[in-house]
Symmetry: C2
Subunit: 469 residues, 2 copies
């Protein structure tokens, strides 16, 4: 009787609106995952743009311009952090709340959709390859279906963000000397950090916290965790430090992330060491701390203690490369993703060693993974090139700043050379399109490439090997 | 008796110095082709640098500086065309002759060594793959051994250069009103064009010929033929327009070359149409002609009617991309090579269509070709990035010109933003190293990657597929 009642109430729950959403999402992602993801993101951005276009959303009380509202909505939902207006000064508290909700919805959406796409990929790959895909981040075997993924993603985000708030809120209460503004700042930065959004709640930017280790390190940990991606966090959560149980995706993601973090910090430190506009006048400990902070944020976080434009132009070029690289798959970080880099590097190593196959950690990387990786890089490079040329044409500027801003938008990093503030509307539309393409485009592009694979069997042609190089 | 005498004299010829050289080259290329090629190029550059360092090589009669001599020798032998000094003003006639011989030796050397490397690759690939490699440019079956390759390359170069001279010499005699200087100019430009060297014999550069169709078109044809590469020229020579008999390498090279030529010309025309510092003030016909000329030369020729630095900075960025692409394999053109681009594009197409294998013209491209292509691109991009950062550091300039000069050096194009003239010695050494790496490095790198393949048989790991994107 009690068991029957439970089942019934269970059945009751399953026909609620939550269930409909789940089913609808499941159907959409099952039939055309890529189009579904594009649609969901497009609609979400439109909703947040409408909200930001309301008079109550601005500090002045008069409606924001359409292009500003659209740009900031896109920037929030794609968790980029680029903005043509000063977040703290231009928007009302309600406007800032809309942005923060946009970040949270966008961040959860990215992770969820990427995870669901991975599942639908797995499903489409057939039984044999499905076993293989468990080595990739996600598999139905270990995580269950749509609803369970969404629930796990939400819980995972909530737990990490709550931990970040536990540190940040008391610290900001202490700094501000005021409880309500401290709670708001702590909440804002916790969400902005874990979602790698890079939006700042202070009019003067993040510069004031360059020598506040509590804030700096908490933000850094939040950005770092967010940039690993949900499949990796899930794997770490379930298997802890039993490294041998980690799957290939987790191992590669952690390796490349740590490697790029160290390279970025060392290069940043070396190049900016005596630049008094950035870290030149700091103590050695602060220089080191800020180099690491810059490195972690370059690959997607988007928080910066110094104005990027004051950096040496060499530093900006190195940043371009690291921003383009980005973070982990199914994370709030953007870019071409660290596993893409790993796959290309492993392909190179295999050739250099004379192996027929790329291998890592006792696993063979299928050749099609190399082709997907190359396609993602080629698509990213082409988009950035087109946007850079276009921004150069609009602004009449030399290459440096348009390139930096384009890469930052494509990789949804949010670091700025100050160009976004100065752009005319047509420039903002270009960057907004790039944020959308870099965020939703790359995920769906990679997923649909992977899905389509192996769907046709055809006559095998004899091999032909053109000369290369 | 007469037949025996012939055989004897044949045997006699085979023990001469020519035979020793052939044998030595054959042994070297057989055992360690990559190291042999590096060594040969290094020694050749050293010889030409010593010659250019002689007092009689300069117009002033006092020795050139070591860095200028080394740089120009490297530029000539790698057929790049970058130069820190004005060729016509700085060197004596003897010096210019040394440069011209350097170009001819370098050009022949590149083609020969690339062809020999391809043969040694073929030999190392084993019987089955050797049949496959016939689809690549070169094969022992169709062309015979070392000596025969060298002979065919020399004859091929001589024939094309003679044809170019037949047009250019009379025209330059007409322009100069003087036979000896006309012969010299015609010879210089014929050799410089076919070898894609881009060195000019006029102190005021090539600007004066912007509206001389005979010179412009002849140079353009010479550069175009040179950039196709010896395997393609050989295939065209033996099979003429019987397209179905062309091998895969020839088809892909011609397709991508023509495509990039058209794209480059259209973009150049559109972007410079009303730039009065470049082609803005010309007639429509001249604008079109010069856009095509610029496009052909961007991908390796290095001749320019206008100063690159007067172009829009957007045009320079597009040029960066086209220079990086380069020309055909085993040609005097540099860059990552058009077949590399074809292989990557085909890999992308295969993924987008859901095919398990890349195919083109009824042939399957082996996955290892994709890996070699990706490795070449990654190596090139890394070298250019390092050089750009380094030149920015040395000169304190923004990204545009250091990037342009680095790509031009790596792809042995020789177009200049004017930076080479202003660089201190340490900057010249960086660019010289880049020319060497771009020229010899890429060829040997690709060849040794291809050779090493399939040399090991090993335990096959289960597949693991990390998420990408
Ligand atoms: K961001
Ligand atoms: K050249």
């Amino acid at each position: 009787m009690s068991s029957a009642a439970q089942t019934e109430s269970g059945t009751g729950r399953r026909t609620g609106p939550w269930t409909y959403l789940k089913r609808w999402l499941g159907r959409l992602t099952g039939t055309s995952p890529a189009r579904a993801a594009m649609l969901i993101f497009g609609v979400t951005i439109a909703v947040f743009a409408s909200l930001l276009n309301m008079p109550w959303a601005t500090a002045s009380g008069s409606s924001a311009t359409f292009h500003d509202a659209l740009f900031v909505a896109t920037s929030a939902v794609t968790v980029t952090g680029l903005t043509p207006v000063n977040t703290a000064e231009h928007w009302s508290f309600a406007g800032e709340l809309v942005i923060l909700i946009g970040i949270q919805v966008g961040g959860l959406g990215i992770i969820t959709i990427a995870a669901l796409l991975a599942i639908s990929v797995t499903r489409n790959l057939g039984l044999r390859t499905r076993l293989v895909a468990q080595e990739g981040g996600i598999s139905t075997g270990s995580m269950g279906e749509t609803g369970q993924v969404i629930r796990t993603v939400v819980i995972c985000s909530a737990v990490v963000e709550a931990l970040l708030m536990l540190v940040l809120i008391p610290r900001f209460i202490q700094i501000n000397g005021d409880i309500s503004s401290g709670v708001w700042d702590g909440t804002f930065y916790a969400i902005s950090a874990f979602n790698n959004a890079g939006f700042v709640a202070h009019a003067e930017g993040f510069a004031g916290f360059g020598n506040d280790p509590v804030v700096i390190w908490t933000i850094m940990v939040g950005v770092f965790l967010g940039s690993l991606g949900f499949p990796v966090l899930f794997m770490l959560w379930t298997n802890r430090w039993h490294v041998r149980r980690w799957n290939l995706h987790t191992k590669l993601t952690l390796e490349v992330t740590l490697l790029l973090m160290v390279i970025g910090a060392v290069l940043y430190g070396v190049m900016e060491w005596s630049n008094s506009s950035t870290i030149g006048d700091m103590s050695v400990a602060e220089k080191l701390q800020n180099s690491l902070f810059a490195s972690v944020n370059m690959r997607s976080g988007g928080f910066s203690v110094v104005e990027s434009n004051l950096q040496n132009s060499e530093t900006m070029l190195i940043s371009d490369a690291l921003m383009f690289a980005g973070g982990g798959s199914a994370s709030t970080a953007g870019g071409i993703k660290v596993t893409t880099i790993a796959v290309i590097w492993l392909a190179f190593l295999a050739e250099a060693r004379g192996d027929t196959e790329s291998t890592a950690h006792g696993r063979t990387i299928p050749p099609s993974a190399v082709r997907v990786a190359v396609s993602v890089v080629a698509m990213g490079a082409t988009l950035v090139l087109i946007s850079t040329v276009w921004l150069m044409y609009i602004t009449g500027l030399d290459m440096g700043r348009p390139l930096y801003e384009s890469v930052s938008a494509f990789a949804t990093v949010g670091l700025t050379s100050g160009l976004t503030e100065d752009l005319p509307p047509e420039g903002l539309y270009v960057l907004a399109a790039l944020m959308f393409a870099g965020r939703v485009g790359i995920i769906t592009f990679a997923a649909s490439l992977t899905v389509r694979q192996r769907s046709r069997v055809r006559y095998r042609y004899p091999e032909g090997r053109p000369m290369i190089g």
